[in-house]
């Protein structure tokens, strides 16, 4: 009976492992069908991407008679989306023809050989010349080849609620000059406007890359002089451990949650908290200040489910200040997504044709506006109809000049997880800043194969 029990357990493990790895739906690929995988919003009422792609599909099928587009939406949180996608990319039977890739992961997937270099297509595509240089390099691998066409970028800043600010006696043209100014405003709100969350800074593993980029990096990249990268030392090609800036950024997060200036810790660690923030708290005037991305208005447009026509009247925008207000004074991070062709795609040529349809000037502009993206095409950025299409576009487009890009090298996703763990530690109070930072340092050594330089 002993071996039986063991083998029962083994069978259970193996079947569960097998069902976890083999859950993607594989359908035989036909030469006339292009399969397009993208991330569908977790919020059922938000259909921005679905509607846009359905429109492009119609255009494409008209333009290329006899060809079909099959949309393969993946409805999942960010982390689950990447996992699912990578599993699909491993086999030619499940690999779609076109995938939506986050630039933070793209180098990692390029290293794995999941993606196809697009240089030969791009050379023959006139519109590629319209893309700004930083966008062109967003999906460039360490081998110098380009693996994706970016569909926009984003910047980040502070959204504040003027209704809350008025009640708290804070100015409607608020612009903090340092971290202390931000915390002071949050303290005032806490004191004078009960029932409102004063300040939201995303944190912890459940929030995933959102916590790292909107939360931690918006702080960390404001701790130095704005010239060097505080995460990765480009000259020695090593990740940075033990920096004071890292601890300072953690201290800020700790203060927000320890002094109850942020959301309740259990809410902050709910994986769906992001949707609560822009779907409920912000429209209802229950959040004072939100450190978040430029794309928020996409959830408040017509037919979005959370219609909020007055958002531009109710909300103000301020750039995120540096730690002590030192030059350059403001901080922003930029990322974005690209359309990439998997190495194991059945119809790569057709897939690139689909990209071309998506990225005509008119379609690109439609997409930037629909998803509140920041234009990466010069012809669209210079078009007045784009700049005036939505309040806030000018504010966030101006930030492009002073924005930072993540060191999105292959190890970055794991470094990001380590950052989220450190944040979660100080958020729950399980770890002190010192302890969380030293855990990060040792994890960093692990996940980067010791490519670490201590400051």
């Amino acid at each position: 009976m002993r071996p039986t029990a063991v083998s029962i357990l083994a069978l259970a493990l193996v079947t569960s492992a097998a069902s976890l790895t083999a859950c993607s739906s594989g359908s035989g690929s036909s030469p006339d069908t292009v399969k397009v995988s993208f991330k569908e919003s977790m919020d059922n009422t938000v259909k921005v991407t679905d509607n846009y792609l359905a429109d492009i599909k119609k255009q494409f099928e008209k333009e290329y008679p006899g060809k079909k587009v099959e949309l393969v939406p993946i409805k999942a949180s960010d982390a689950d989306y990447y996992t699912k996608l990578e599993q699909m990319l491993r086999s030619p039977r499940t690999a779609p023809d076109l995938v939506y890739e986050d630039t933070f992961l793209i180098n990692s997937d390029i290293t794995s050989g999941y993606l196809k270099p697009l240089d030969s297509y791009l050379a023959k595509w006139q519109d590629w010349g319209q893309f700004i240089d930083t966008a062109k390099s967003a999906a460039r691998g360490e081998d110098g080849k380009t693996y994706g066409v970016p569909d926009g970028t984003d910047t980040r800043g502070l959204w504040f609620d003027k209704r809350v600010f008025e009640k708290a006696g804070l100015p409607a043209d608020w612009q903090p000059k340092s971290w202390d100014d931000v915390l002071a405003a949050a303290r005032t709100i806490k004191q004078k406007v009960p029932g409102v969350t004063p300040l939201n800074v995303y944190t912890g593993k459940p929030a995933g890359e959102t916590a790292t980029m909107q939360g931690f990096e918006m702080l960390l990249y404001g701790t130095n002089d704005g010239a060097g990268d505080p995460l990765y030392d480009k000259s020695s090609k090593k990740w940075i451990a033990g920096s004071q800036g890292f601890k300072d950024a953690l201290s800020f997060v700790e203060t927000v949650y320890k002094d109850k200036l942020g959301p309740d810790v259990s809410d902050a660690l709910d994986p769906n908290y992001r949707n609560t923030v822009w779907g409920e708290l912000m429209p209802q005037g229950k959040l004072g200040i939100n450190l978040d991305g430029s794309w928020l208005p996409q959830s408040w447009g017509k037919n979005s489910g959370h219609e909020w026509p007055d958002w531009s009247k109710d909300l103000g925008l301020a750039y995120m200040p540096t730690q002590h207000g030192q030059a350059p004074g403001k901080v922003s991070m930029s990322g974005g997504w690209t359309w990439s062709v998997p190495a194991k795609a059945g119809n790569p040529d057709l897939a690139f044709d689909f990209i071309k349809t998506m990225q005509t000037k008119a379609n690109a502009e439609k997409w930037y506006i629909a998803n509140s993206g920041i234009a990466v095409r010069k012809d669209v950025a210079g078009d007045p109809s784009y700049a005036s299409a939505q309040p806030g576009i000018k504010f966030f487009t101006d930030l492009v000049a002073s924005t930072h890009y993540r060191p999105a090298y292959p190890a970055y996703p794991k470094v990001s997880t380590a950052i989220q763990e450190a944040m979660e530690g100080v958020t729950t109070g399980d770890a002190s800043v010192e302890k969380a930072a030293s855990t990060y340092d040792s994890t960093l050594k692990d996940v980067t194969d010791d490519q670490v330089v201590t400051q």
């Binding site: 009976m1 002993r2 029990a5 063991v6 029962i8 357990l9 083994a10 069978l11 259970a12 493990l13 193996v14 569960s16 492992a17 097998a18 976890l20 982390a79 990447y82 996992t83 990578e86 599993q87 992961l105 990692s108 997937d109 290293t111 794995s112 050989g113 999941y114 912890g204 593993k205 459940p206 309740d264 810790v265 259990s266 660690l269 994986p271 292959p410 190890a411 996703p413 794991k414 997880t417 979660e424 530690g425 729950t428 399980d430 692990d446």
Partner: protein, 286 residues
């Protein structure tokens, strides 16, 4: 002679091939992956790394934390919870009237029949801050608690008891029915009270069922994933991250398939250790 043997074995071949292909194959493949540094992303080629994944596990605080939580979860919910509650229910139901028995049995078994994810959502709704439990506590003027946040491992253990007690109850009901009435009656005539009869007559007589039940419960509880994933995702922090959740996180969220598989093999080891202990308990004669 040999030809006859082969001839006799021939009808078994299809079954054997299928077993090798679908049972042994994946197991061997899993064991192989545990000795490589296979990653889901960020790696051109996987290579053989020997015992590195296992060495890493034993130096990983998060792994040791997961082992500890797995033991707490198993002892609390399987040994103490499901097992004891199942026995108590079975014993009480023998003495209950028929309608009470039908009703209780029905309710308990419903919890067991529910799919794991549904049960997880129900108990999440029960324990969360705005949930049923706090509403009841508030009604009774007792202080409310954010259960999933302050004591997540207790909350998920309770959830597992709620879900799994029915199985033990069924096993013990069957076992108790097997005890001849004469023995109980003669003990009663000799003046043994309820607890004495339980301790000296009932328990020794259903010893084998206890062993089987403990073993099945424990192995099932060790591999509980969906329930905890739905309720807490192993959080907050890693305060309810048992081994299956740790394994999932390493393999599919941190993309380290090799390490995750090594952890899976270690989980297998924990399970077989429990089995060995139970087998010893079963073997001793009264």
């Amino acid at each position: 002679m040999i030809a006859r043997r082969i001839g006799r074995a021939l009808p078994l071949t299809p079954a054997l091939v299928l077993l090798l292909l679908f049972l042994a194959g994946p197991i061997v493949y899993c064991a192989y992956i545990a000795f490589t540094d296979l990653q889901l992303t960020g790696q051109a080629h996987a290579s053989f790394v020997g015992f590195a994944n296992f060495r890493r596990a034993f130096h990983d605080d998060a792994f040791l934390n997961a082992v500890w939580l797995t033991l707490v979860f198993t002892v609390l919910s399987s040994l103490l919870g499901q097992n004891t509650l199942g026995l108590a229910l079975a014993a009480l139901m023998r003495r209950a009237s028929k309608p009470v028995r039908t009703l209780t049995g029905g309710i308990v078994i419903t919890a067991w029949v529910l799919p794991e994810v549904v049960a997880g959502f129900l108990l999440y709704a029960f324990f969360r801050r705005e949930g049923t439990l706090n509403a009841i506590l508030g009604f009774l003027h007792l202080p409310s608690q954010n259960w999933l946040f302050t004591l997540p491992i207790l909350a998920v253990s309770f959830a597992n008891v709620w879900r799994g007690a029915a199985f033990s109850m069924l096993v013990y009901s069957a076992a108790l029915d097997e005890i001849p009435d004469e023995i109980e009656e003669s003990a009663e005539v000799d003046g043994a009270g309820g607890w004495r009869r339980m301790w000296h007559i009932t328990l020794p007589m259903i010893r084998r069922s206890i062993g089987t039940n403990l073993m099945l419960n424990t192995l099932q509880t060790l591999s509980v994933f969906g329930l905890i994933w739905v309720m807490t995702r192993g959080g907050p922090g890693d305060r309810s991250q048992t081994l299956p959740l740790f394994m999932y996180e390493q393999a599919f969220q941190n993309s380290m398939i090799g390490y995750g598989t090594a952890v899976a093999l270690l989980l297998l080891l924990v399970g077989s250790l429990f089995s060995v202990v139970y087998m010893r308990l079963l073997r001793t004669e009264v």
